[in-house]
């Protein structure tokens, strides 16, 4: 049974509803509040032309920005959440899955496979934030692990692009253990000397940050991306005070030595290409 047909990768994917913009010709920038012609934002890779704010974009749009056109071959599309705890809060987990599947056209919050960056082969996976906040359950953890294993087997760099609220509570311990599983796979990749590049986008928090996302040989963040272990609200509640301006933003992490660089969407592909070339000794 194949639920989800492969889609042609395009940066103006009409099914891309993860874009945080209302329907219509005009969009309002979430950062500077400017009303901008939607086409203009899209032409600019969904970056605000006024203030450089990076809109959240879908997994497939990300792949389109980074990979050579037509190079992506999707893997592991058949992985589907099994609701191991038969979890129900205000809604059944099964229903939440269904509505996210309908909304995104994806089976879960991660799209992965192999592709090429300036003709250099990579094993790559991308989070879909619009699918239950990009939360990591057993499917996402397994797909990430396979991205890393595929990189190890083929001796090609592994790339993971994160945007996630962390572990998926509805899978309880099954989701928690994905942190250990993915981190173990990185240990193996390191032993083989195969590079692993982690790209952090807005937002990357919780169990995702506290596992594979912060373990990149190279860690790249998009401008202004929120990156942290605990969410800002949890920290504010714990310490009972307001957080400083810019706290947990990409620029803050760079300043504190936690990431290698901040790269905007327009130069991301070029940067990856240069890094991958040199890391492979060419």
């Amino acid at each position: 049974m194949v639920w989800f047909r492969k889609k042609k990768v395009s940066s103006t994917d009409p099914n891309d509803r993860s874009l945080k913009v209302p329907e219509g010709l005009w969009v309002k920038c979430a950062n500077c509040g400017e009303i901008i012609y939607k086409k203009e934002v899209e032409r600019n890779l969904n970056v605000c032309p006024k203030c450089d704010y990076h809109f959240r974009i879908s997994a497939r749009s990300r792949l389109a920005v980074i990979l050579d056109e037509g190079s992506f071959i999707e893997h592991d599309e058949g992985l589907i959440a099994s609701d191991p705890l038969e979890f129900k809060d205000l809604k059944k987990y099964k229903e939440r899955l269904k509505s996210s599947q309908k909304k995104t056209g994806l089976s879960d919050a991660f799209v992965s496979g192999v592709g090429a960056i300036d003709s250099k082969k990579v094993s790559i996976g991308v989070f879909e934030f619009a699918f239950m906040g990009g939360s990591m359950g057993a499917v996402v953890g397994e797909k990430i692990t396979r991205v890393l294993e595929r990189g190890a087997e083929a001796g090609i760099p592994a790339l993971v692009i994160s945007s996630s609220g962390g572990a998926r509570m509805q899978e309880g311990i099954h989701s928690l253990m994905q942190m250990a599983k993915t981190s173990a796979a990185i240990a193996r990749l390191r032993e083989l000397g195969v590079p692993y590049i982690s790209i952090l986008t807005d937002p990357t928090t919780g169990g995702v940050t506290a596992s594979f996302a912060m373990l990149g040989d190279i860690i790249i963040a998009e401008p202004r991306a929120l990156i942290g272990f605990a969410g800002p609200r949890v920290i504010e509640q714990t310490i009972g005070e307001k957080l400083p301006e810019g706290f947990q933003r990409a620029e803050y992490l760079l300043e504190h030595g936690m990431i290698d660089m901040i790269v905007d969407r327009k130069t991301m592909k070029r940067t990856l290409s240069r890094v991958i070339s040199m890391l492979s000794g060419t």
Partner: protein
Amino acid sequence: MTNKHPLDFEKPLVEIEKKIEDIKNSMPDGAPATDELKKLRRKAAKVKKDIFAKLTPYQVTQVARHRDRPYALDYIEAVFDDFVELHGDRLFGDDPAIVGGLARLDGEPVMVIGQQKGRTTKEKLFRNFGMPNPEGYRKALRLMHLAERSKIPVITLIDTPGAYPGIGAEERGQAEAIARNLREMAVLNTPIVSVVIGEGGSGGALALGVADRVMMLTYSTYSVISPEGCAAILYKDAAKADVAAKALKITAPDLAEMGFVDAVIEEPMGGAHTDPDKAARNLKASVLEALADIRTDSLGIVKNRYEKFRKLGSFAEDAE
């Protein structure tokens, strides 16, 4: 009375125990137990058994967090000999929320590491309620690497509400510290045994828990999020913690049944705090057994551990 601070659901037991206490106090020292006293004692035992045989997961959470529950240093004192505490991460500081050091277990040297909570208000603040900062995890990893080079096993005692969510913790890379432990523990070339002795709070617990054998005391919990946190986020009502605790399947028997925990270490009826010596004896026997068992693994420790964690997490897969 063995239980100085009974929990709400222990009330029926408390009443009987108080009667027993009153009768004993009215009797001269050394007088033989009356029939009434014997009857009450039998009744107390039965009521206790009835209560603890069907604790709800949220009641288990309360036992796991009990103020008198033995903490890591209590087990280190009771189970190990010759403990030499080692301090500091060599990078920033020493985190009192994680203790660790060399010790002997039945004569054999080991590295023992655990999250430590405090009992008095002052101790609680000093130990940061058992919520480690990055330097705690980095100290733990430093000690694990030392154990690896010294070819001695690592025993970890897990008991934390979670890694500390604070400004300094974020600034110094809480996420990186946890992640690094997960990666390094996965390939640490020496046996690792982990025991959840109280609260296994999410990634902050797992950062000491990538082990060859993961065990839990009967009334401990291990969860991706606290019942209260889950209730607030998913049920939009913090008072639904009992419902969330049940849904998350966080108790030792549930986790063992799903294959996430290798063994449940029997705790005294009523909780470890009602008979800490017995809890310590059981823990010691289980750790020794686990260590002996790990050494018979045929594939090699690291390979086995990798396979163990590689398998975790259920999903379905359709052929394409």
